[in-house]
């Protein structure tokens, strides 16, 4: 029995969002008389942090503290329409819609503030701490709360904004088959190092090193969290998970978490991640989104690492010990490749 080390690399190019129906999302922003703002969305936060990111985007656009913004994603029956939380589209599509809505709301807020301060709205700026003042004359100032109260009870204005982001639908050229399915792409490269046991066929992750280019990271800790966790979904797809282990016979399929194999805390390995920020021209503050791409490069990198370790090319997922052993047997034994 020998344990063989191998290293594999993969690079990916990942489209943000999709082309279907123009992939629209809507957002509504309005102020309450307290001077706090509510963002209404139908997009759902599954734990990836979309509420945090849209809150940041809204606060930054309005020019108010992030604490003054509440994101409400509760109800898709009553909220503005959204295609959904998928296709790595949340930050980009929903973020753009929130930005448009916040921009419109900011316009009304500045008009209302201008009326109170008896100046031109174009001469006003926000300080990001809940105040609006005349450029170059910070003492000529009014708080967003006072503006909200004046708009509501005196001026009869709604400080609110509507936003939608819609990508023009790209049709397939009947002559060439050409189309433009996405407006921006994220990129990643990952190196996986594995150890393959040629007696049991078991593959152990030794370490991962990766670089992700995902536009501007609006919330670096959330990006890191998603990349760290998502890589293990990738490993899980590569080595463990399948609802159809003996396709097409479903009899031996997994029925629960005991039989549906996933990595546990003892299976993880060090993962060094570099985040490269190249702002996207059409992204909110240059953001694209980590989304699904956090798992994507892991699968081919692991498959390549297994080839590097024992010389077998397995193109059927997941790469179970059984498949590794059968492949090694068919080759007449493990054939470690040159270390890269």
């Amino acid at each position: 029995m020998t344990r063989h080390r191998g290293r594999g690399i993969a690079s990916i190019n990942y489209p943000i969002g999709m082309n279907l129906g123009g992939d629209p999302s809507q957002a509504l922003v309005h102020s309450n008389p307290s001077g706090k703002f509510t963002v209404a969305l139908s997009s759902i936060d599954l734990g990836q942090g979309m509420k945090s990111v849209t809150r940041q985007i809204c606060a930054e656009t309005l020019g108010v503290p992030v604490e003054d913004v509440y994101v409400d994603t509760a109800d898709s029956d009553t909220g503005p329409h959204c295609m959904g939380s998928f296709a790595s589209r949340g930050t980009h599509r929903v973020g753009n819609a929130v930005m448009a809505a916040a921009r419109e709301a900011r316009g009304v807020m500045m008009e209302a503030a201008a009326e109170e301060l008896e100046v031109n709205a174009a001469d006003l700026e926000t300080d990001g701490r809940g105040n609006i003042h005349v450029k170059g004359a910070p003492h000529r100032s009014i708080s967003t709360k006072e503006v909200a109260i004046a708009a509501q009870f005196k001026q009869g204005k709604t400080i609110s904004g509507r936003g939608i982001f819609l990508v023009p639908l790209s049709n397939v050229d009947p002559e060439t088959g050409e189309m433009s399915p996405a407006t921006c792409y994220a990129h990643a490269c990952l190196v996986a190092e594995v150890e393959v046991d040629d007696e049991t066929g078991e593959v152990t992750m030794i370490r991962m090193d990766s670089a992700y280019e995902l536009g501007r990271a609006l919330n670096p800790r959330l990006v890191e969290q998603q990349l760290v966790g998502g890589a293990w979904m990738g490993v899980s797809h590569a080595l463990y998970e399948t609802p159809e282990p003996y396709y097409p016979d479903p009899i031996h399929g997994p029925r629960d978490f005991v039989e549906y194999v996933m990595p546990g805390p003892g299976d993880i390995c060090p993962h060094d991640i570099a985040v490269l920020e190249r702002p996207a021209p059409d992204g909110p503050f240059g953001a694209k989104g980590p989304g699904e791409m956090c798992a994507n490069p892991v699968l081919p990198a692991v498959a390549n690492a297994i080839f590097n370790a024992v010389g077998v090319r397995i193109d059927d997922l997941p790469i179970t010990p059984e498949k590794v052993l059968r492949a090694i047997k068919a080759e007449g034994g493990a054939r470690p490749q040159a270390r890269r």
Binding site: L46, Q225, W232, D256, F257, V258, P265, I268, P270
Partner: protein, 158 residues
């Protein structure tokens, strides 16, 4: 079917309920007592999100017959927070971004509490062992391990 009277301590308070024979502790806690902090994941001991402490020992509430806790002390995640003050483990989970969807978090916290109660400064390997019965789909475990080490005063690193 006749119901059985059952009394036990739940997070420091005495509770008395009537349970059907065969009712598991998870159902008793959630449906009869109204403590929704232990989660239903798989119902057969495969995921760990229903974990609770019985007399200080970690148990899967979905595999525990409710009647077996008569006279004993059951602690759930709900016992960790004291008023507005988070338990040091909860604070460490937040600070280390150890939750994403959050469904595994109650079980992870109870498994971590059981560990720190008997071993206040565990090694990384001991932390991994302690949460090995709990599945997490989102985090890749690394932030959870770091959070538990941080709460124990240990060094949070890979």
């Amino acid at each position: 079917m006749a119901k059985t009277a059952l009394q036990f301590r739940h997070n420091g308070s005495d509770v008395a309920i009537f349970v059907d024979g065969g009712t598991n502790l998870l159902v008793a806690l959630r449906e009869l007592i109204g403590d929704m902090t232990p989660k239903f994941g798989c119902g057969q001991g495969g995921c760990g999100t229903c974990s609770v402490l019985i007399d200080g020992e970690l148990h899967l509430s979905c595999l525990t017959l409710a009647e077996t806790v008569a006279g004993r002390s059951v602690e759930t995640l709900d016992s960790l927070k004291q008023g507005p003050n988070l338990h040091p483990l909860q604070r460490a989970f937040a600070d280390n971004f150890a939750a994403q969807c959050g469904y595994c978090t109650p079980g992870m916290l109870m498994a971590a509490k059981a560990l720190l109660d008997r071993n206040p400064s565990p090694s990384r390997a001991e932390v991994v062992e302690a949460i090995s019965g709990n599945i997490c789909r989102c985090t890749g475990y690394e932030p959870i391990i770091n959070a538990i080490l941080a709460a124990s005063g240990g060094r949070a690193s890979a």
